[in-house]
Amino acid sequence: MGGSASLIPRDLLSEYQELTFLSKQEILLAYKRFSELLPKEERENACSARVSKSQILTLPELRANPFQHQICHVFSTSESGDDSMSFEDFLDMLSVFSDSATSDIKSHYAFRIFDFDNDGILDRKDLEQLVNCLTGQGEESQLSSAEMEQLIQNILEESDIDKDGTINLSEFQHVVSRSPDFASSFKIVL
């Protein structure tokens, strides 16, 4: 284990503990998993290194997820827009998907994950893309355009409270808050 030599500084660890929903053990485990993604020579300073998106997506927890690109995109703070992740971004992601995160914060990030074009609202295009992600890429499992149209119409009717044709964050959170299963399904265990 090359990663075991380097440790998170104590003050950083406590800071992470204060700012995320993770326990000390979870942070350490995350650190271990993160440094395993790095090449050997970079493991010494894993706290400041960045892992490329393709590398992040090799994690078994994200590998099969249809929203993997969006998740990387939402949590990455990369300046260049290549969706690479630093350790802090990684922790951020785990914190939001952790057991103890509030459903408020979970729904906020869920909204951003579902907001594919990143314009702050879920419009018809976002919904279509979302449904396509949910139903998978297979030919037979795709919905036809008429069905899709109808489905999106129904979704908008149900959740667009102010009738502006799009779903904004608070409307989304309102819908999600009515589902007891959301908090338990919006979870990734490392």
């Binding site: 440790l7 800071e15 008429a146 007891p180 990734i188």
Partner: protein
């Protein structure tokens, strides 16, 4: 900066601060004033927009990810679909509305949380006077923040937020910081600013502070220890019992099957607490001071060995060795461990009861059972209330919820992900079908493509697969089924309706009749077995044979418990319930009725001592043994069920039928079996204090066996399963018939059944309850200072009026809560109306804005 240049509504301040809404008369005036305002502001807005776009380019693109997302996205023609007539400028304004920026923009999030913090602060302390007028309308206050040019930059906003946060208490502040949807880097900037402002005094509160001198001085020494400690911690994390297994299950089968295992874990925890209490106060003491009177039969290793293998000798082993062991009631003595506090071993115990009082084993026995029930009750009520809170307000038929909350992020296996996709797809199609009206032109096409009614879905899964291949015969069949379903849901003829009702009624009559039959069978069978047993005893046949007879009744009961659910499944298939959810509920109800009625009959037999345990000297031990046998049999049948229902069935499906299908894990039935086992444990806790330990062992084994079988034999469930709601139902079932029933049984036993004369801690008493009474008298005599205790006991505990008042108070509290909930519902309705109105206003304003631009466009 990135915050939206919104319109500052300089509505005449008077009307706002008066708190009056403008009357409908001057509504028109207000509208025109808006119009004026928009005209005035539009030039400003444009300047602001340009500025914003420039700024946004410079801002760290992490949150916008694509810089100028809105600038790029909005002018696209495709985006204009919803408002096809709007110009790009008005669309830009739309995009920068606060409700939209909050979902993507760092600055907007910070401002929102700033406002929230301010609101929180106002709750704790009285606000300064100047803010009162702003308080009147938080939305206006937000506008202030958004538009005030002096607070334009992100840095400023951050400063403002820090200022607001500083006014909170440290714990509130850290919680606020924790719950902000900001990136960790952003949060740590805020935290640094906070700690910088807060100064060393407040810092002191956090013992782990990075700035504490202690931490720095010991850095070198602690580094090595820390490394070790961290490694240990991460080891602990991975070695946490069941953690990895649960992750595996969740990763493959999703939340639905996981809920079964979580339920199992809850049961394990409940049993652990009961076990701990009984172990500490009764079992250990009895083990330390064993009764010398009974010499246990010699225990040979062979007995244990064979006992583990064959049933007969397991029984023999049970009867012979276990009868006089800590496992059962009969072994416990009624001694009082006297010599208070003089001999050292009791010294630790005696302060528990009362100073200078001996340790009274019967009392300890009674209290331990009582306390363990109390603890279980509290834990159960707590988990019921928590799960109610989680699942309250959920609605079923919502497409939006289905879409937004459908994805289970825990599922990580590729195959399972694919299955989940397919399931969601079929669910959406079915839901779609239910929602659409028959006259809808879209439906025609939808129907031809996805002719899948819920009945079809649950009826046969293989049909679903043939359907995806669009086989002609299958398609025809599906069309037919579809027509049937359509007619059922829309134009159900009276005859069909009647037929359906008759079938339902018949199914219920059959189900209840079968329950009655089962109960009668168990009753007569137990009587018959009693006769046989007496005959055997009279003839003096071998011990082994006698013990084997004892096992027959549990065997029959367990057999019924295993076989009847399958009969009910057949019934369900016949009656064809409309929705899978109703089907599950009906199955649960029938199974529950069966199990409860059989248990009630058995309880009756045990307590009346007419058939079972009638000839025994120590009937409590006999009942305890009986319960132990039932539990063991239940476990064996659970194993057999796993073997045949899952393993053999899979082999048949794979080898014989050559399908890729695998059996599905029946969550409802399995959870009900767990509830049944737990009920047995609770019933037996008085007669066999170590039964929770046995149950714990059983649950642990079951956990790993079920997990292994699941991983090897099963596929993820195809039916929609509302995990949260179902676990609420199950925990309620565990609480209501199961726990309360067991508590009632035990209370009856304690209050009005005479314990055995010759064995157990309560020998020679009229009822078990009398031991408590006697103790109070002893207490009163031994120490006159605590006569009040006896008084309290006599006047409060024995008095029924207290119970009456308590229940009245409870009912009053419940009534009060119901009223509160009703009031809240009304408020919610009003708020919803208000939101709808606001939405109309918004549309109106958007249109106005658009017309303004139109005019300007035409003018220029």
């Amino acid at each position: 900066m990135s915050q939206p240049p919104s319109i500052t509504l300089h509505v005449p301040e008077g009307s706002e601060s008066d708190g009056q809404e403008p009357s409908p008369d001057n509504e028109r005036a207000l509208h025109t004033s808006f119009h004026q305002l928009i005209l005035e502001q539009s030039s400003l807005i444009e300047a602001g927009l340009e500025l914003e776009l420039q700024e946004r380019g410079r801002e760290s693109p992490s949150h916008l990810a694509i810089p100028d997302a809105c600038a790029m996205a909005w002018p696209e023609p495709g985006q204009g679909e919803e408002h096809p007539s709007y110009s790009s400028a008005s669309l830009q304004i739309l995009a920068s509305m606060p409700s939209r920026t909050i979902g993507r923009n760092l600055g907007a999030i910070i401002s929102q949380y700033c406002n929230r913090t301010a609101r929180l602060r106002r709750q704790c302390s009285r606000p300064p006077l100047q803010q009162l007028c702003r308080m009147a309308r938080p939305s206006l206050r937000q506008y202030d923040l958004e538009t005030d040019p002096t607070r334009a930059t992100l840095e400023e906003k951050r400063r403002l937020l820090v200022k607001e946060l500083l006014s909170l208490s440290p714990s509130q502040c850290s919680h606020m910081l924790l719950t902000m949807p900001l990136s960790l880097a952003e949060k740590s900037i805020l935290r640094r600013q906070l700690s910088g402002r807060r100064g060393p005094v407040r810092q002191h509160a956090h013992h782990w502070s990075p700035f504490s001198p202690c931490g720095w001085s010991k850095v070198c020494v602690s580094l090595g220890c820390r490394g070790l400690w961290y490694r240990l911690l991460s080891l602990l994390r991975t070695a946490q019992p069941g953690h990895y297994a649960l992750k595996q299950i969740g990763g493959r089968f999703g939340s639905s099957v996981l809920s079964y295992f979580l339920f199992l874990k809850t049961l394990l925890m409940l049993n652990f607490f009961s076990f701990l209490i009984l172990l500490a106060f009764v079992v250990v003491l009895q083990a330390v001071y064993p009764t010398a009177s009974v010499s246990p039969q010699p225990f040979t290793g062979l007995e244990l060995l064979t006992g583990a293998v064959t049933m007969e000798s397991s029984c023999a082993f049970l009867q012979g060795y276990f009868t006089h062991s800590l496992l059962f009631y009969g072994y416990y003595s009624n001694v009082t461990l006297n010599d208070p506090c003089t001999s050292s071993p009791q010294g630790s115990v005696c302060p528990f009861t009362a100073p200078l009082l001996p340790y009274n084993l019967p009392l300890a026995y009674l209290f331990s059972v009582g306390v363990s029930f109390l603890v279980t009750c509290i834990l159960l009520v707590y988990s019921v209330s928590r799960s109610f809170r989680e699942s309250v307000g959920s609605s079923t038929g919502d497409l939006a919820i289905k879409v937004f909350c459908a994805w289970d992020f825990k599922v990580i296996q590729r195959r399972s992900v694919k299955l989940q996709c397919e399931n969601i797809c079929t669910q959406l199609k079915v839901e779609q079908l239910g929602n659409a009206k028959p006259s809808d032109p879209n439906l025609a096409s939808a129907l031809s493509i996805a002719p899948l009614g819920p009945a079809v879905l649950q009826w046969d899964k293989t049909l679903l697969q043939t359907q995806s291949g669009f086989g002609s015969s299958a398609a025809a069949l599906l069309q037919e089924l579809l027509g049937e379903q359509r007619s059922r849901s829309h134009s159900q003829s009276r005859c069909q309706c009647l037929g359906h009702c008759v079938i339902m009624l018949l199914a219920w009559v059959l189900a209840l009749g079968s329950v009655l039959g089962c109960v009668l069978a168990v009753h007569y069978f137990s009587e018959h077995m009693h006769m046989v047993q007496q005959g055997q005893q009279a003839r003096g046949s071998g011990r082994l044979q006698q013990e084997a007879i004892l096992l027959v009744l549990p065997l029959v009961v367990s057999l019924l418990n295993v076989l009847m659910p399958h009969l009910y499944n057949l019934l369900a298939m016949w009656e064809k319930q409309d929705s899978p959810v109703t089907q599950v509920y009906v199955a649960i109800t029938r199974n529950l009725i069966l199990k409860m009625v059989i248990l009630i009959l058995l309880c009756y037999h045990w307590l009346s001592r007419s058939v079972i345990c009638s000839t025994e000297e120590c009937w409590e031990t006999c009942v305890g043994q009986d319960l132990y046998r039932f539990m063991m049999m239940d476990f064996i049948f659970a194993l057999l069920d796993t073997l045949f229902g899952e393993l053999i069935w899979r082999l048949i499906l794979e080898k014989r039928l050559k399908t890729k299908q695998r059996p599905e894990f029946d969550i409802a039935r399995n959870v009900l079996e767990l509830i049944y086992g737990q009920t047995l444990t609770w019933l037996g806790i008085l007669f066999a204090p170590l039964l929770p330990a046995v149950q714990m062992l059983k649950l642990l084994l079951l956990f790993y066996i079920k997990k292994t079988s699941l991983m090897r034999n099963c596929q993820s469930p195809s039916k929609p399963w509302q995990a949260a709601r179902m676990s609420t139902v199950f925990i309620t079932l565990l609480c209501f018939p199961s726990f309360l029933g067991a508590a009632a049984f035990l209370s009856y036993t304690i209050w009005s059944v005479q314990p055995s004369e010759t064995c157990g801690p309560f020998r020679g008493l009229e009822t078990i309850y009398k031991s408590g009474k006697r103790w109070v008298l002893v207490l009163e005599k031994s120490n006159p200072n605590i006569t009040w205790f006896a008084w309290v006991y006599q006047h409060l505990l024995e008095n029924t009026s207290l119970l009456f008042f308590m229940s009245v108070a409870l009912i009053a509290v419940i009534y009060f809560n119901i009223q509160v909930v009703r009031g809240r519902q009304r408020v919610i309705c009003l708020l919803q109306e208000q939101i709808a109105n606001e939405g109309e206003d918004k549309v109106f304003l958007i249109q106005k804005l658009h017309s303004v631009y139109e005019q300007r466009h035409r003018r220029s």
